[in-house]
């Protein structure tokens, strides 16, 4: 279908873009447009104004800023996949969509869109990223743990733009694994888990695991981290920790899996992601 009528603006700066967002009753930011345009064509979403940030200079870089690495709002999945960002994010980006989608869609866009079965949302969460939002009142930092609020809902205000994701350099190792809808790593995640682990003197000193596909949004599996930190990170310890993957997590059934199955997969991929991450240490 064709979208309903809408206004289109292509500002040349973030400030202009924020102003355009503020000026409209219902505006949406477009970066790669890989999710927005289909939703508009299906008339599931009919914004009054589309604010295309694609022509704003300086947003398409992955920059090393010392303590953290910055992913600009126009960095494509393909760029993230080819970067030396942590492995969990690299793999999550490389298993997002298909080649065409990866060449247009953006990592920040995927985070802002917050699809229930996206890959990079889990990675961003496991990496403890900081999300930088710019709005009419300036810039604010949102911890990734507070960013993914609900199905297709992030902590961004309607007049804010996710300009940057900051990935802290915290050491350790990361991994992401999932089951895709067409099996293997294809397509959206039926369920997936991203893991970050750190080891000091033979014991696990830090751990964060995030799940995707199992609930309404990417979620931290806090029980896993709690169970694993302080252990030796052995196969047995990982297995036991993974059993707690869905502690406090709302698991929802969909076309691709029952609640029971998804909860099971959350444990399987938590175990696999942790095992892989630990193998890098």
């Amino acid at each position: 279908m064709f979208p309903r009528k809408f206004d289109y603006v292509a500002p040349s700066s973030i400030d202009e873009a924020v102003a355009a967002l503020s000026d409209s009753e219902f505006a949406k930011v477009m970066a790669g447009g890989m999710s927005l345009i289909p939703m508009m064509k299906l008339r599931l979403l009919s914004p009054e104004t589309v604010v295309d940030i694609g022509r704003i200079p300086g947003l398409d870089e992955i920059r090393d800023e010392g303590d953290y690495v910055s992913i600009g709002a126009l960095v494509r999945h393909a760029q993230t996949a080819a970067s030396n960002l942590p492995q969990a994010l690299v793999d999550a980006a490389s298993w997002t969509g298909d080649v065409q989608v990866r060449n247009r869609g953006t990592t920040c866009g995927a985070a802002a869109h917050s699809d229930i079965a996206a890959d990079q949302t889990a990675a961003v969460l496991a990496l403890g990223a900081t999300m930088i939002a710019q709005g009419p009142n300036g810039t604010r930092e949102i911890p990734s743990s507070e960013f993914f609020v609900d199905a297709m809902t992030s902590a961004l205000e309607p007049d804010e733009i996710l300009t940057e994701i900051r990935i802290p350099k915290i050491g350790g190792a990361t991994a992401y694994d999932k089951l895709g809808r067409r099996g293997g790593h294809t397509d959206y995640a039926v369920a997936g888990a991203a893991a970050w682990v750190q080891k000091d003197n033979g014991s696990i000193s830090g751990c964060r695991v995030a799940l995707t596909g199992v609930g309404t949004n990417a979620t931290l599996a806090e029980g896993v981290a709690e169970a694993l930190v302080g252990t030796d990170g052995s196969e047995q310890a990982v297995k036991e920790a993974a059993e707690r993957a869905t502690d406090g997590v709302t698991v929802l059934e969909d076309l691709y899996g029952s609640e029971e199955y998804k909860a099971h997969l959350a444990k399987v991929f938590t175990r696999r992601a942790l095992t892989q991450a630990l193998s890098f240490l």
């Binding site: 009528k5 008339r43 099996g183 294809t186 959206y188 076309l255 899996g257």
Partner: protein, 797 residues
């Protein structure tokens, strides 16, 4: 065994590809006629609802809207005929009642498609929802009627063993019943679902109609598999002679049977064009396609094998409910009948098959690649594997034991009651076992299992029926004769050598991606000795092409191919007369070689095709009584359909933690008779396999209890992509048919017919040790995992 070259030609590159790959193909939506206005449809959001009222005023008043049509505007024109008109035919627009989600309720015509979509949203329809019948078993129970005016939701039953012979059927049933009483038999039975699928051509359907009031004629562009049928349907609908309707099917981006229908929107767009005096275009949106273009499959059935412990099958039974959807369209109820044709596969054992055609509040089903044959072969080959497992016999041996022996061919009568042209099933099985190393595969599987990997192999046989063209088919009473078409589906071809020695071949059929322009050039080149490059093949324009039907049921090469071959022979015979006259030799001494005609024994006394053609168009140079020109048109009506066959093998590995199935290898030994272009044949097998594997692993048209299609977008209807499939390993045996002079059988659907059950058999083989006996398709990870859980918890999987 493996054919790399062919007696008819070779693996020459597809002449269509440079245009198609470079975006130079012209599809219906690319065609712009000045003044065109655009149609959109208001579609029912309910599977079953009374339409109390339709308020079109707000839409009609929108600027740029030309018309809004509802049922009463077009009632006098419909319905479009169905080949077998049982059940309820689809009204042109829902007439007081909507019977499936997505049914067209009103048509809006506006300056642009976007505006038409806006106006369609402004049409206010007052629906009174009614209970929907979606589940096949519930529908078959007749507790709730789909259509009040029908006696039963079961609109037709096909029964065979052998078909059409009531006495024979009764006898077979008795034979099987008696076999079941024997002490030395096992009876293996399983209920299985062959799920609904959504045919998904890259190009959705599109139609552009123009009415010329001065000439009183239609010109219609449509993405259709059957241009002549559409021309006939429009002519009859509007009371015109068929020569007043010209249908053009330009490049058609995939059909798979789904474009083998005359769709209401094609007739409605023509109606609007006539009413408005403007060309009207409708291009189906991807999102509306699942509910506006036919779906395929949709059977629930129980297959039962009764056999001895040493592998002799004494009886096979299949009782299935086949989902027809809400309305009967073109071949809807004939699809299960195609399953009857191949119900007994390659085997010689008593069969009783009963297929109930059931109407439900869902989109109509009809032909989808394989059409009835994949379903029938699925049940047969799945249950044979369970039987083999039950008696501990190699699946290959069980099949071998029960084949119709080669000695009964040609013309063996299959237990379903049809004569089969040619076959040598054991030769094909042996070729597969040897070429693909069956024993080594089993060893590899067993070694993997020792490593704790869940690897399985599946092996199946299949037989197909295709190449529909026998005149006797007309006796079944297909309604296309009312559209002025030869309902016997004869083939036709015209070969014209032009004055410059180039050749124009015009065929009554047309491709939807199969490469006819290449293959037909090869057929003609083979006879005339004229280089393929000099031969152009035209199709898809009813104003210029001989009366024909189209490509479906893997029929074009086997039916239209021989017609063209015959026409080429006639052209050659005439050219020989001309050459004999000009070279002052006897006609029987003329030889054609290297693109020239010469006198036998005197290669210097020769004429090129250019010289012959030039003379042909100057009648004063020709022998007395010989008309000018150098062309021939031929019609071919085969005595039988053709029956390809083959053996397929799959090797899979299952991740039992997740249920994820990894297809490791796919091996196919097909036999489609003589091969014209091996590369095109391989390509057809590749596409067929992709669609069969898609059914086995991914695709599922899921309706909820209210009749909403939950998988109406490609986000939720996963199609296989190239990255999901292994490199197919293909080989062939060649058993030419004896019913056409080319020896070709057809290959468009074999890959699909042979593959789904091969995958499922392999997966069940991988999991049998865990107690799994069957998993219904698609074998999505969740299903596989659930089956493993159920088996391990001791309940029936």
């Amino acid at each position: 065994m493996t054919t790399t070259t062919s007696v008819l030609g070779g693996a020459i590159r597809r002449r269509e590809d440079p245009a198609l790959i470079q975006g130079e193909g012209r599809y219906v939506d690319d065609i712009k006629l000045s003044g065109t206005v655009h149609a959109a449809f208001v579609r029912s959001p309910y599977a079953h609802a009374r339409i109390a009222s339709i308020d079109t005023l707000r839409a009609e008043e929108m600027e740029g809207v030309h018309a809004v049509y509802v049922a009463e505007d077009v009632r006098h024109l419909g319905p479009v005929l169905a080949q077998v008109p049982v059940g309820k035919l689809r009204p042109l627009l829902a007439d007081g009642m909507a019977s499936h989600v997505g049914e067209s309720v009103a048509m809006v015509v506006a300056d642009s498609r976007a505006l038409a979509d806006d106006a369609a949203e402004a049409v206010d329809v007052d629906y009174e929802p009614l209970p929907a019948v979606v589940d096949l078993k519930q529908a078959a129970s007749d507790k709730v009627k789909v259509h009040d005016e029908l006696d039963s939701n079961i609109i037709l039953t096909w029964e065979c063993g052998p078909w059409g012979n009531e006495e024979g059927i009764a006898q077979t049933k008795e034979e099987i019943a008696q076999a079941k009483q024997r002490d030395d038999v096992v009876v293996v039975s399983q209920e299985m679902i062959n799920q609904r699928l959504i045919p998904t051509a890259i190009e959705p359907r599109a139609v552009l109609a123009d009415w010329n009031r001065g000439y009183q004629r239609f010109e219609v562009y449509s993405s259709t598999q059957v241009p002549h049928a559409l021309a006939g349907a429009i002519a009859k609908t509007f009371g015109l002679a068929s020569n007043s309707v010209r249908v053009l099917a330009p490049e058609v981006g995939g059909g798979f049977g789904a474009k083998l229908n005359i769709y209401n929107d094609e007739v409605l767009v023509a109606f609007a064009a006539q009413q408005l005096g403007r060309p009207v275009k409708y291009t189906e949106e991807r999102r509306e396609s699942p509910n506006s273009t036919i779906q395929g499959r949709g059977w629930v059935g129980t297959a039962t094998v009764t056999g001895t412990r040493d592998g002799e099958v004494l009886g096979y039974e299949l009782h299935a409910l086949c989902d027809m959807g809400a309305y009967t369209q073109n071949f809807t109820v004939a699809i299960p009948f195609l399953g009857v044709f191949v119900g007994s596969g390659q085997y010689k054992f008593p069969i009783h098959m009963k297929l109930d055609c059931v109407t439900t509040h869902t989109m109509t089903t009809d032909a989808y690649r394989g059409a009835g044959r994949p379903e029938a072969i699925y049940y047969l080959e799945r249950i044979l594997d369970e039987y083999a497992a039950a008696i501990g016999m190699d699946p290959a041996d069980v099949r071998r034991r029960n084949y119709i022996p080669a000695s009964e061919f040609p013309g063996a009568t299959a237990p379903v009651g049809f004569a089969v042209d040619t076959g040598d099933y054991e030769k094909n099985l042996d070729a597969a076992l040897k070429h693909f190393g069956w024993d080594a595969l089993l060893q590899e599987r067993d070694l993997a299992r020792e490593e704790g990997r869940n690897v399985g192999v599946g092996l199946t046989s299949y037989v197909e029926v295709c190449g529909f063209g026998p005149s006797a088919l007309a006796d079944l009473g297909f309604s296309w004769s009312e559209y002025g078409l030869p309902s016997s589906f004869n083939g036709s071809g015209l070969v014209r050598v032009n004055p410059d020695g180039s050749v124009t071949t015009i065929i009554g059929t047309g491709p939807t991606g199969q490469g006819h322009e290449t293959t037909w050039a090869q057929i003609v080149s083979r006879q005339l000795g004229i280089d393929e490059e000099k031969i152009r093949v035209r199709h898809g324009d009813t104003a210029e092409s001989p009366m024909g039907i189209g490509t479906f049921g893997s029929r074009s090469a086997a039916v239209d191919g021989p017609a063209t071959h015959q026409a080429a022979l006639e052209v050659k015979a005439k050219a020989a007369k001309i050459a004999a006259h000009l070279l002052e030799a006897a006609e029987e001494d003329i030889r054609f070689e290297n693109g020239q005609a010469h006198v036998a024994g005197s290669p210097d006394r020769s004429l090129s095709w250019e010289e012959l053609a030039k003379a042909a168009y100057q009648p004063h140079l020709l022998p007395e009584g010989l008309a000018g020109g150098l062309e021939a048109h031929s019609v071919f009506s085969p005595a039988n359909a053709t029956w390809p066959f083959g053996t397929h093998i799959a090797m899979v590995e299952v991740d039992t933690d997740t249920g994820d199935v990894d297809l490791l290898r796919y091996l196919a030994m097909d036999d489609c008779g003589t091969v014209i272009n091996p590369m095109i044949v391989d390509g057809q097998i590749h596409g067929g396999l992709a669609q069969g594997i898609g059914q086995a692993l991914f695709e599922d048209a899921i309706y909820d209890g209210d009749g909403n299609l939950l998988t109406g977008s490609l986000v939720d209807y996963p199609l296989p992509t190239a990255t999901d499939l292994p490199t197919f390993e293909l080989a062939r045996t060649v058993t030419p048919t004896d019913i056409n002079p080319l020896g070709v059988k057809g290959i468009g659907e074999a890959g699909t017919i042979g593959s789904a059950q091969t995958i499922v058999n392999a997966v069940v083989d991988a999991l049998r040790a865990l107690g799994v006996k069957h998993i219904d398709m698609p074998l999505r990870p969740k299903r596989v995992w659930q089956a493993i859980q159920a088996a391990q918890n001791g309940s029936d999987s």
